[in-house]
Symmetry: C2
Subunit: 149 residues, 2 copies
DNA sequence: TTGCTATTGCGAATCAATTGCAATAGCTGT
DNA sequence: ACAGCTATTGCAATTGATTCGCAATAGCAA
């Protein structure tokens, strides 16, 4: 189990401890292809460890994010809730459909290009980009047009 | 005063009323080139109307945003606070320096290109994009490298 | 096993933003 | 100018995701 060892050694390297809670929470995000908020991670994890507390979920998500094992995202226009996904999936961005709430992943090199251009121009160094799109997916475009009549 | 009439007629068209509070709050955002959060808008507006309440500021910002007279933004990685700016400035994006907290505006056609490509590919329709970059500006890059030693 | 301390569960706290409500003030029509 | 309707305001209380303090617990190195 490569990811378990990787997790353990990376935790150790940061002076942290391996706990069943951390293993569990990372495994949930590694296995699902979805984007989960803390509440949903908690719901799923609790099925396997009924003693788990949501504060532990928040603390663990924060650590896994710092260790760059998971990515934190915002979706939709009002960023009230934080979502998480495994980093395994590589660089991509997100489109949220206001009709069906589906999240579609967008792959493009153009965002990185923007960063490179701006770096070259100003000397700035990028550490993070938050990009999220909102609109109506192909299935929902028509419904939306009817609504605005 | 073109913008005042524009505001008044646009409010009327939406079945809303013109109030001194709304005039004041929009004028603050129209005059400054800055990005202000509700608290700062409130602080500035209160100097001209000491009776003003912050709930009114929040409500007004929300309405002006819906009417597309101002833009709501998030900055930095943790989107705790919402900032606002006038729409007059046209399409642009933002880079936040983690060193000096300066916000640098980024102009590029590439974000719109991403949207067009994705629309052509999938048939989706975009209504909004939230793009924010984070890193270190040219002045702060060196300091940051020294810190990580 | 023991001892050190990182981590957990739990409840309370945060804090930007929202909401319910009674009083007020725009606006329309007279 | 006035009356009546109702959108808007000020105020106080609430929300809700996230964070924090703390005592009990559990990793892990020796
Ligand atoms: Mn994704
Ligand atoms: Mn701007
Ligand atoms: Zn849809
Ligand atoms: Zn800087």
């Amino acid at each position: 189990m490569e990811s378990k060892n990787s997790l353990e050694s990376r935790l150790r390297a940061a002076g942290r401890r391996m706990t069943p809670q951390r293993k569990l929470i990372l495994s949930i995000l590694d296995q699902t292809g979805d984007h989960l908020d803390a509440e949903e991670v908690y719901r799923r994890a609790k099925q396997q460890n009924s003693n788990l507390n949501i504060a532990t979920v928040y603390r663990t998500l924060s650590i896994l994010k710092d260790m760059e094992l998971i990515e934190q995202r915002y979706f939709a226009r009002d960023h009230n809730v934080e979502y998480y996904e495994s980093v395994n999936k590589g660089e991509h961005y997100h489109f949220t459909c206001l009709g069906c709430r589906k999240i579609i992943e967008v792959e493009t090199p153009k965002i990185v290009q923007v960063q490179k251009e701006f770096s070259a121009l100003t000397g700035a160094k990028f550490t993070h980009a938050c990009v999220c799109f909102e609109g109506y997916c192909a299935n929902c475009v028509n419904d939306e047009e009817n609504l605005t009549l």
